[in-house]
């Protein structure tokens, strides 16, 4: 069973590699390879490192009751912000097409961020009150 899945995977992957290498010239392939490598480096090097650093700082600064809400907020707002980079930067904007990227994305982000921060504050206060009633949080 596993051998079959693995073998099918290899064949499927090799078809993709053959297709990739036979349809474009060398400059284009170098461009694609650069993107493939840079993506991994940006994630494993920059993004993962920044997350570790931010986590260490937040752990020192935040009161105990705020930590869990802050992690939830970070995962939600962080990942959604990352996937919104193309629209937030408006890189594809064109002066001849008003129907493309026709929202105020910065305002949208601010609303989302404010809602998230408000949720963190509310959840932290609730958790802290519950903790004082029942004794310290674990």
């Amino acid at each position: 069973m596993r051998a079959v899945i693995g073998a099918v995977g290899v064949v499927v992957g090799l078809f993709g590699a053959w297709f990739l290498l036979t349809r474009q010239d060398l400059d284009q392939l170098v461009g694609a390879a650069t993107w493939l490598v840079v993506g991994v480096v940006l994630h494993d090097g920059v993004l993962a490192g920044a997350t570790l650093l931010l986590g260490a700082v937040a752990l020192r600064l935040l009161p105990r009751a705020a930590r869990a809400p802050a992690v939830v907020a970070f995962v939600v707002l962080g990942s959604v912000t990352l996937l919104a980079v193309p629209v937030l930067g408006r890189f594809g904007e064109r002066s001849d097409n008003a129907t493309l990227l026709d929202r105020d994305y910065t305002a949208g982000w601010l609303v989302l961020a404010l809602l998230t921060v408000a949720a963190v504050v509310v959840a932290s206060v609730l958790r802290s009150r519950r903790a004082t009633r029942r004794g310290p949080l674990r």
Partner: protein, 391 residues
């Protein structure tokens, strides 16, 4: 981990990541949903790729008319939902990046092969999501052909995913059939309780994926328009339909507005030519059909114009023949497109002259455009000047 400024940075080991949230029990659960999203992305991507091929040995169906709208909408929605899923999944397995290589040639070779397949999978997954998101906002910061590369790397990524599943199958099965707090598959050093529980982290991940979808899907799901603050399009435009390529970008305005504009239809030596007024004097049909773009946005419109089959009949074009559609655009890959026989023969396929009861806007393809059911938007050719039935 960073010891002292100016001295070498110590490479972390697995043991430097003691959180028990970084567990296979979490990885397998997030991975399952990521696998489902990638599978939907792959299947809908294949459909989209095939729909854009000139030659279709198996005719791409013309019904349901909203089929491509749904598959391409799903393609972009599942791709978007995959971003939080992939990030959390990679976070849970990040310590494995720092596992020291095993001793012994055979073990080392196996490790190299497995890590190689993981490297391909991670690079492919990040590439597909990043390039897809950029493309959906019409941002093209690359030199390669998007369609060919996104298609090829989709096959590579799915291949690497299958290899990954084959390698990890016992762990996946074990982790998914036991409780999420079970520690059977944990790294021995991963024992420190996290800020969240494992269930808490999983719920957070599902919420993040849900927010990602709600924040973007309004470009194709009309009821979400108000909440999709990161939607690439609000859905506004001339006659309530957005535009992908403007007349200015296609450099067609002078030819399209000229009194010399003629539309012609030809089959062999037989050829007929019409002004726009003459087209308007012919029997007009009205169809409600969506425009659904490869970028994932879509909108439904009510189009009126002359049925393409009626035009082809004027020159005796046999049914089933492919039709070359020629636009006023002077250049570009979509100046000429092939309308496959089954699309040309469908009663709903129109040479549209009006949208929502108003004359077609220049940016929507004035004087005349093609609109067919279940067809990628990029092939709904605008500023049409000629239909040529293949002999």
């Amino acid at each position: 981990m960073v010891r002292r400024a100016g001295r070498a940075v110590k490479v972390p080991t697995e043991a430097d990541f003691p959180s028990r949230l970084r567990s296979a029990a979490v990885t397998a659960r997030v991975g399952m949903w990521l696998g489902i999203c990638f599978t939907i992305c792959f299947a809908t991507g294949l459909i989209s790729h095939y729909a854009q091929n000139h030659s279709q040995p198996i005719p791409f169906p013309t019904s349901p008319s909203w089929g491509y709208r749904v598959t391409q909408g799903l393609h972009v929605i599942t791709g978007t939902a995959s971003v939080p899923l992939l990030l959390v999944k990679l976070w849970t397995v990040y310590p494995r990046l720092f596992v020291r290589p095993p001793k012994g040639l055979r073990k080392l070779l196996l490790e190299v092969l497995e890590r190689g397949s993981i490297a391909v999978l991670v690079a492919g997954a990040i590439f597909q999501l990043a390039s897809g998101l950029a493309n959906s906002s019409q941002w093209y910061p690359w030199s390669f052909s998007f369609r060919a590369t996104h298609y090829a790397i989709a096959w590579i990524t799915i291949g690497a995913l299958l290899v990954h599943i084959a390698v990890k199958l016992p762990i996946i099965r074990g982790a998914l059939t036991s409780d999420v707090e079970d520690t059977t598959y944990d790294r021995p050093t991963a024992t420190r309780p996290g800020v969240l529980s494992r269930r808490g982290l999983l719920r957070t991940t599902w919420v993040a994926a849900g927010v990602a979808v709600l924040a973007t899907a309004g470009s194709t799901v009309p009821i979400l328009r108000k909440v999709s603050v990161f939607g690439v399009r609000s859905g506004d435009g001339p006659a309530g339909i957005p535009i992908n390529k403007s007349a200015a970008a296609a450099k067609v305005a002078p030819a399209a507005m000229s009194g010399d504009y003629r539309f012609s239809v030809a089959y062999g030596d037989e050829e007929r030519s019409f002004t726009r007024d003459e087209l308007l004097a012919m029997e007009q049909r009205t169809e409600t059909l969506p425009i659904a773009c490869v970028e994932g946005w879509s909108a439904s419109g009510t189009w009126s114009g002359v049925r393409v089959r009626d035009l082809l009949d004027l020159v005796g074009g046999p049914s089933g023949s492919d039709v070359l559609v020629v636009s006023l655009q002077e250049s570009g890959p979509y100046r000429e497109t092939v309308l496959q026989g089954n699309f040309a023969d469908d009663d709903r396929t129109l040479l549209a002259l009006a949208l929502e009861g108003e004359p077609l806007a220049l940016d929507h393809g004035y004087p005349a455009r093609l609109i067919a059911p279940n067809r990628p938007g990029v092939l709904q050719t605008k500023w049409v000047t000629r239909l040529e039935v293949s002999a």
